[in-house]
Every structure is written in C-alpha cells, then in structure tokens.
C-alpha cells in the first residue's frame, strides 16, 4: 500500500477547468479556478500525498470523475480546510467542537467555525505534512490510541477528536456540541475534558427524547441555544442580533434547498449523473459547510448547474457501473467504501444521516432561536426509531433503492441498539433487502477487507 500510485488530475481538463468560475469565500475574497488548479495539482500533492493515494482502499479518495469539475473544487475545500481554519483562528475566529449531522446555523451565526469530530480527526492528521497514506494512518491511530488509553477501548473512534484537542494537536476554543439521539459517546467524551489539564470551556445543548407534541422540548433547546450563542459571541466578539442569525439561516437554507434539488435530479435521472462519492459529498457539504458556508453554497450552486447539464445530456457519472444496484446507506459516521461498491456493481443513492439534516429547513421569520430548536427536533434521523425508519423507507422508495445497508461503528451504542429494528421496518415497508454491518474502522483505509467482503456479498445478493 505505501507504494501505490498517486492520483493526478489530467492536464487535458486544465483549460476547461480554469475557464470555470472560481469560489467566493465568506471573507469576501474569490479564489480563481486557475489558483484552485494550481493548488490541486502542485501544492496539495506535495503537502498531502496521502490524499492523492490512488489505492481503492483509501477511504478519503477523491472521485475519479475528473470531468465533474465541481468535484475538484469540493476536494479543494477539503484540502484547504487546515489552512483556512488556522488562518481564521489566528485572526480570532473561535473554533468549536460540535456534533455532526446537526444544524450549524447557530455556530456560524455567532461567528465561530464549527468542527465536527470527523473533521477534527482529518485536521489533526493533516497537521503533519508530506505523509503518505500509511504514515498518515499511523499518525491517526497514534492519536486514537492516546485517547483510548485515557478513557476506554469501548469508545468509538470519535475519541480521536477529543484526544487531538487534549493533546493540543489542533486549536479548539470551545467544546460545545448538540447532544442527540444518534450518538452514544459525545456527551460522555465531552465530560472527560473536565479531568484534563486544558481549560477549554465546555457546553452542551441537550436534545430531549420523545419530543413530539411537547412544546416544552423546543423551549428547553431555545434557552440552551441562547446560552450557546452568548458563549460563542463572548469569544468571537460578534454582536448577535436576530437579523444576524436570520442572515445565516437564509444562507444555509439555500444550501439545503440546492442539495435537495440535486438529490431529486439524481434520483429521477435515467443515468446517475455523478458517482457515489460526488453525490454523497453534496449532502455533506450542505450540512457541514466545511468552515465556510458562503463558499459551500457557491459550490453547491455550481454543482447543480453541472448536474443539470449532465442530466439533460443523459451523461452517466464516471465510475457508476451499468445497471448499477442502488444502495441506500443507513447509520452514523461510517459507510461502505464507494469505490469498492461501484466496482462490485452498485451505486449509493442516499444516506439517512446526511439526508436527514438537509431535509429540514429552518423557518426564516419569528424567533430564530426557537426556529432552530424546532428544526433540530424535526430531523427525521432523531425521531423515535419507528418514525425514523418510516422516513427512511420513504427515502428508499423515492431513491428507487434496491438494497439497504445499515452500518455502525464499534462503540456506537445507540445505532447498534436500533440497527436491527430499522432494518426490519424498512424491509417490511418496502420489500427491499436489508443488512447490517458492524465495523471497527471509522476513518481507516487499511485492512477493511472484512466489511468490504460483506458489502460485496450483499451487492451480489441484491
């Protein structure tokens, strides 16, 4: 694996690429496509060789649909994450550890950059440059193990993020996630920081269970959100008015809307216009915004245009097999390797986790705190399991999926608790075959054959 080939963007697309629009960023600057090309072909391969490792096991491998030019820009956002964060942090923007799969509006509005555990891990890994894939994974595992050592090997790999914060591998100014019903480890891992040397402030926005028809649940979150925003504003120095929050909500709503439109386009297209990797990146981008909602929304718009073009011309995304088996993916934080699945004849049509986040818009008038609280409570993924499963079954139908894989991570007690029930309900409602797979490899590329085998066997079955 250490000697595997490095991926390169072919020169013949250069001219076309640099003729496209650049990316606008929230600080008002624009990076031209020529600059992006330069970064992605010269600087990044030198600094982050692991990201260009062409090995099919490389879980973070870029899409090889190089003609989907927005995909290159999306990779650019990923690889510049480190530089952008460090720069903003140095300029006084607080960085906040948050939960993935939740609304980010409040954080960005308060002037912070929210960073979910997965991105903290990537960020921490990228702090040392010039590493190949194996070296980078070794670095990741060392961080992971230092965390497990302190807490427990029963913890899921999210513990890496907390270890990276503890060990000051990356600068995080506030640990303040939303709790939710998906994640068994977040609350307890946040708590572990109270017994550490650092004095990074901490806060949690609680997420009540069984909140349907209970106005007091939203009111509870509303108060917590105010507290959260006050805490962030104290660090960012930003003056927060309702209007500031609504501006952010409107921007992020736009991102969510575009992502939904793209999903509809993709689902209804005769040929999937982009491959699994590119498709999943869309929903993720519209939930996370990768440190810069302005750039992300800009990119989502560009992506949509390209996809529309492809659908019109009936172009199939590179990598999508003919007569692909359509798989819907369930579960938090881990998913099957897209390259392997496509080689085995399948394509991914959706993922409950990320699609849940983009499926709910925040209301743009009234009390912004309460609106965000209400939208959080509406996430299909965070409903009672039966309801979540029904929504997922509906997604399975709409995306015309022919199989469902529920995957969960070692140590993820809440997902492991419902994996069977959700699979059962979906099968019953849709008649589509389902399976569930437990993996111990979040964020790993090496030695993942076992789960790959199971996914491939399932694809064969479908």
């Amino acid at each position: 694996m250490p000697n595997s080939k490095l991926f390169k963007y072919p020169e013949e697309i250069k001219d076309k690429f640099i003729s496209t629009k650049g990316l606008k960023f929230k600080n008002g600057t624009t990076v031209s496509s020529a600059e992006i090309w330069e970064f992605m072909t010269e600087e990044a391969p030198r600094r982050f060789p692991y990201a260009f490792d062409a090995n099919a096991n490389n879980i973070g491998r870029f899409s090889d649909d190089v003609h989907f030019l927005s995909g290159i820009k999306r990779a650019y956002l990923t690889l510049t994450f480190k530089d952008r964060l460090l720069k903003e942090h140095a300029a006084g923007t607080p960085t906040v550890l948050v939960q993935g799969g939740q609304a980010m509006d409040a954080y960005y509005a308060a002037g912070a950059i929210p960073v979910r555990p997965g991105l903290v891990m990537q960020w921490a890994q990228s702090m040392e440059e010039g590493l190949n894939l194996r070296q980078s994974e070794t670095r990741g595992i060392n961080i992971l193990e230092s965390g497990r050592r302190k807490i427990s090997i029963d913890a899921c790999n999210q513990i890496s993020a907390h270890a990276a914060i503890d060990n000051k591998v990356v600068p995080i100014d506030l640990i303040a996630p939303f709790l939710c019903l998906r994640c068994s480890d977040m609350a307890f891992l946040v708590e572990t920081h109270r017994n550490r040397e650092h004095d990074i402030p901490r806060y949690m926005v609680d997420y009540p269970v069984d909140h349907e028809n209970k106005p007091w649940a939203a009111e509870y979150i509303e108060v917590e959100l105010k507290e959260l925003i006050t805490k962030i504003a104290a660090l960012s120095g930003r003056k927060i008015t309702d209007e500031v929050i609504f501006d952010e909500i409107r921007l992020e709503n736009r991102g969510r809307k575009i992502a939904n439109e793209i999903a509809e386009l993709w689902w209804n297209a005769e040929n999937p216009p982009i491959n699994s990797t590119d498709f999943f990146a869309i929903a993720f981008l519209a939930n996370d915004f990768l440190g810069d909602p302005v750039a992300s929304v800009d990119l989502l718009e560009q992506s949509k245009q390209e996809i529309e073009e492809r659908v019109k011309n009936n172009v199939k995304g590179y990598g999508v097999p003919d007569d692909a088996k359509r798989l819907y993916i369930c579960g938090s934080c881990v998913g099957p390797n897209a390259h392997h699945a496509e080689t085995a004849g399948a394509v991914f049509v959706g993922r409950d986790d990320n699609w849940s986040c983009i499926s709910v818009l925040v209301e743009e008038e009234g009390n912004p705190y309460l609106n965000i609280a209400k939208s959080m409570l509406e996430y299909p993924y965070e409903q009672r399991t039966e309801k979540r499963a029904e929504w997922t079954a509906e997604q399975v139908r709409r995306s015309r999926a022919s199989g469902v894989i529920f995957m969960y991570q070692w140590g993820c007690n809440y997902q492991s608790g419902v994996a069977r029930m959700i699979s059962d309900i979906i099968r019953e409602k849709t008649g589509v075959p389902t399976t569930f797979v437990e993996v111990g490899e979040l964020g790993r590329s090496e030695a993942t054959e076992q789960s790959t085998n199971r996914v491939e066997a399932f694809i064969e079955m479908v």
Partner: protein, 392 residues
Amino acid sequence: MGLKTLEKITAALTSRPAELEQLRKQGKKIVGWLAYNIPEEIIYALGLIPIRVGQGGDGRLVEVGARHISTKNCVFVRQVLGQFAEKTDPYIKQLDLVAIDATCIQLYRLEELINFYFDYKTVVLGVPRNFATKEGHEYFRKEVEHFTKKLELFAGVSLEQSKLQEAINIYDGIREAIKTLYSYQSKDNAPLSWRDVSAVINAGYNLDRLRYLELLQELIKEVEEKTSEPQENQAIEARVFLSGSLIPPGDTKLIDIIEQLGGRIVGDDLWSGLNFFLNLEIKEPTPFGVADAYLDRIPHASLPYLDLPTDGRLANLKHQIQQFNADGVIYHTLRYCDAFTFKAGETKDVLKNVPFLEIHTEYSGSDFEAIRTRVEAFVEMIKNKKEIAELV
C-alpha cells in the same frame, strides 16, 4: 444470620406474584418500571402498583435479548430485553404498562424495542442532560406533569394531593429505613450483611410498599436488638465499597467472588443499592415538586456533568466511602455501559489514595477466573497494607 424478619420478607416475596394475580383480577393495574428516575410516588398515589423490573446475571436471557439488539449494547439492557421477549418472569408477564425514563438512552432504546417487537404498552419520561440548570428543571417539570397525565388516563383517576402526600410519606419512610439498615450492616458484629440488605432492597421493588415499610421497621427493631458490642482484636478484614454500573437482582457473580475471597462489602453507591434512596426530598406534593426533588438527587452517571469539583456523584462517593469506613473501592462496569466505563479512570484519579479496582464484565461466566484473580489480589493488597499499618 437467623433474622426472623428476613424470612418474613422472603415469604412475602414468594407469595407476591400470586397476590398480584388476585389484585389484577380485582381490576388493579401493574406498572413495571425501568431505569433510574421514575417517580414511583406518583404511580402509587394513582392507585397503580409499581414494580421495578429488570434482572441480571443470566447469560441465556442475554442471548435471547441479543436477537433484537446488538451484542454491543449494555448487557443489562440485553438481558431485560430477553426477559420481555420471553414473558416468563412472574412480574413481567403481569405488567399492564411499562414506564421507562431516559436517564440512560440505551434503556430508552429498550423501550422502543419492547414496544415494537413485543407489543408492550409503554410510557417514556424524558430526563434532561443539563439537569443542573434552570431550563433543565423547567423541562423536567413539564415532563413529569405530562407523565402524570398519561398515567392518570391509564388509571382512570386524577392525582389527588392528599394521596400523593400519603405516598410520599411511605416512600420517605422506606428511604429512611434503608439508610438505617445500611448503617447497621457496616458495623462490626452486625447481625446482617450488605448482601442481606441488598436482598431486602430487591424484594422491596416487588412488594406492596406499605407492607414493605412495615417489614422494614420490624427488621430494624430486630437488628437493633441483635446488635452486640464489637469485640476487641477483630481479624483484619478487607472492607470493600462497591461502585459503578448497577448490580441488579440475579447478578451475584462479583458479590460471590468478593465474599468467597474474604472481602467484606460494607457499602455502595450503586443505583441498584443505596444511591436510589439518598437525597430525595419532596418539598411539595405536586408533580412539579416531585420533579425538582428527583432532579436534585445524586446525579446518575448517565447524565453528563461538566465541572469536576462540583460533581455531586463524586462528592457522594467520597462521602460514602468514609461513612462506611471502606478500605478500597471495587468499581464495577458493565461492558458497553459507557456512562460508568468512561469515568473509571477519572473516578480513580479523584479518589487518589483509596485502593481502586475496576472490574469490567458481562453476564457470562467466562471471565470468572480472571475476576477472581483480580479481586483476590486486591484483597491481598488491602490486607497486606493493613497488616503493615498494624505493625507500625
């Protein structure tokens, strides 16, 4: 140790399932409850019969439960699921309603599963993770109020303040009595052991609460009479304090091992033990009053708390260790019970020089020998230390 009242309690327990059958025939309804923060007072005051369900220590039932949940979930949850699946437990098969609070989200998941797979009627009580805040209290008040309304509908009566006050008085009495028994069992020459008290507590979750209170008071009287003066020159003992994940009825593996190896359990801060009865003071006989009191108890480890120095759980632990004059702590963590497992290292740090042993286990017998070795070495270590201390 030949305490007559203990025999009476055992007898009452034996006849209880049949008694419940009769009561049900007369139209009484049984509410089984699970978890850590269900306000029993309210169930009782509505004329419903509260029974705390859930047992441990049975590998076979764990397997049954694991058919519907992953093997990566807490083993207690798996076993209880197995119990609900089988419906052979004399109490579980008689339940008209199951109430579960969301202190531990794995138990909340269990509620969904038994409702979906086995058609139990269930009711959930939300519990705020930000339990120490004003908004957390506000939320919980509404939750308890809502919970009460649901139970009222189920019982077909509305909650009367006087009835609630009556219930509170009974439960206050039970709590006081258990505390008294705990202080007796830890004495030298105590006529009853920690294990006896534990059996009494477990029995109480099934018995009629008023009858139970009477039995407890009778037991205390008997214990008082039978407590003799401690003799001089007691043999060196290893006084063990139990902490960590709950040790429900049926799970005797660790307790057996400790006792077999010459350790003496003198106290605990378990939610299947003493903690349940501590620091609960209902100031006002209303759902709101009940809510505040429950939330202000010693926090359960499932509820995260972000400031170490003011953590009530740890303060209580330290206090109880002193109170019972314990020599060391055995901290029991069930596999995949993150609430307690993740805090093991920290708890050890906080307890500083108190000898501390974590036992991370499940309900299978396969680790019996490994636990034995640890506990034996721990007891050896404590005894050695005391021996040396006695020499100098």
